[in-house]
Amino acid sequence: MHEASLISGLIRQIESIVHPPPVRKVVGVTVRIGPLCATNPDHLRDHFLLAAQGTIVEGAELKVETMDDPADPNAASVILRSIEVAE
């Protein structure tokens, strides 16, 4: 449930960033997850695959970087690092 809402928020965020043309396709998305954010890369990728259908990120590869420091201020967060697009 948490992942689902996270991913749908993420996709919307991506849409708002890449929306204006000439972007034709999103080919890759990189996120970074903190050690306290209570999710894992496989889980996230599954949800991404599901939620991506019919959106601008359908078919894009989700790369997940992990972060180890629990004292990092973003330790409990997921950060959208970058979006790879094709024009």
Binding site: H2, C37, A38
Partner: protein
């Protein structure tokens, strides 16, 4: 002699798994060794500041919703790490446990030891009774607290 230990169970009995913390507290009531106090709280933050006042070792138990599988246990030593606010996403109060801990840190009102057990809940809608995975986790926290508090007493 060791100063007082206090167990504070947090939650709402009528919001399904949210009751987990209070159920742990209630079960410990019949067991608690001398010098251990057991409280129940709703999770309203400023009331928590009062609830742990004067205690040395405080164990707080609450249901959490961070996205981990239901029944997952989180143990946080507040002196060692900041409390991830996202863990308590389901807190029924805008000024809840995470806010209380961080406010206490700023006002220098944290107990010298504050351990938080978070039990990942599954359902938080209005209802009575725990999910099976949470029921199991409740038993596990109860056992762990008996040990943690027991060990502490034997060193007294």
């Amino acid at each position: 002699m060791k100063l007082k230990a206090r167990v504070i169970g947090i939650g709402n009995d009528y919001q399904s798994d949210d009751a987990a913390g209070r159920i742990v507290a209630r079960r410990l009531k019949t067991w608690a060794p001398p010098g251990t106090e057991i409280f129940e709280e709703t999770g309203e933050g400023t009331a928590l500041l009062e609830a742990w006042r004067g205690a040395e070792d405080v164990f707080l138990i609450d249901a959490v919703q961070s996205g981990a599988p239901p029944g997952t246990l989180h143990r946080i030593d507040v002196q060692v790490q900041p409390l991830p606010a996202s863990l308590f996403r389901h807190s029924t109060h805008a000024f809840g446990i995470a806010e209380a801990v961080e406010l206490a840190r700023v006002l220098h009102q944290l107990p010298s030891r504050l351990i938080i057990y978070g039990i990942e809940g599954e359902r938080f809608d209005a209802g009575v009774g725990l999910s099976p995975s949470v029921e199991k986790a409740v038993a596990e926290v109860e056992a762990r607290l008996r040990q943690e508090i027991g060990t502490r007493s034997s060193h007294a």
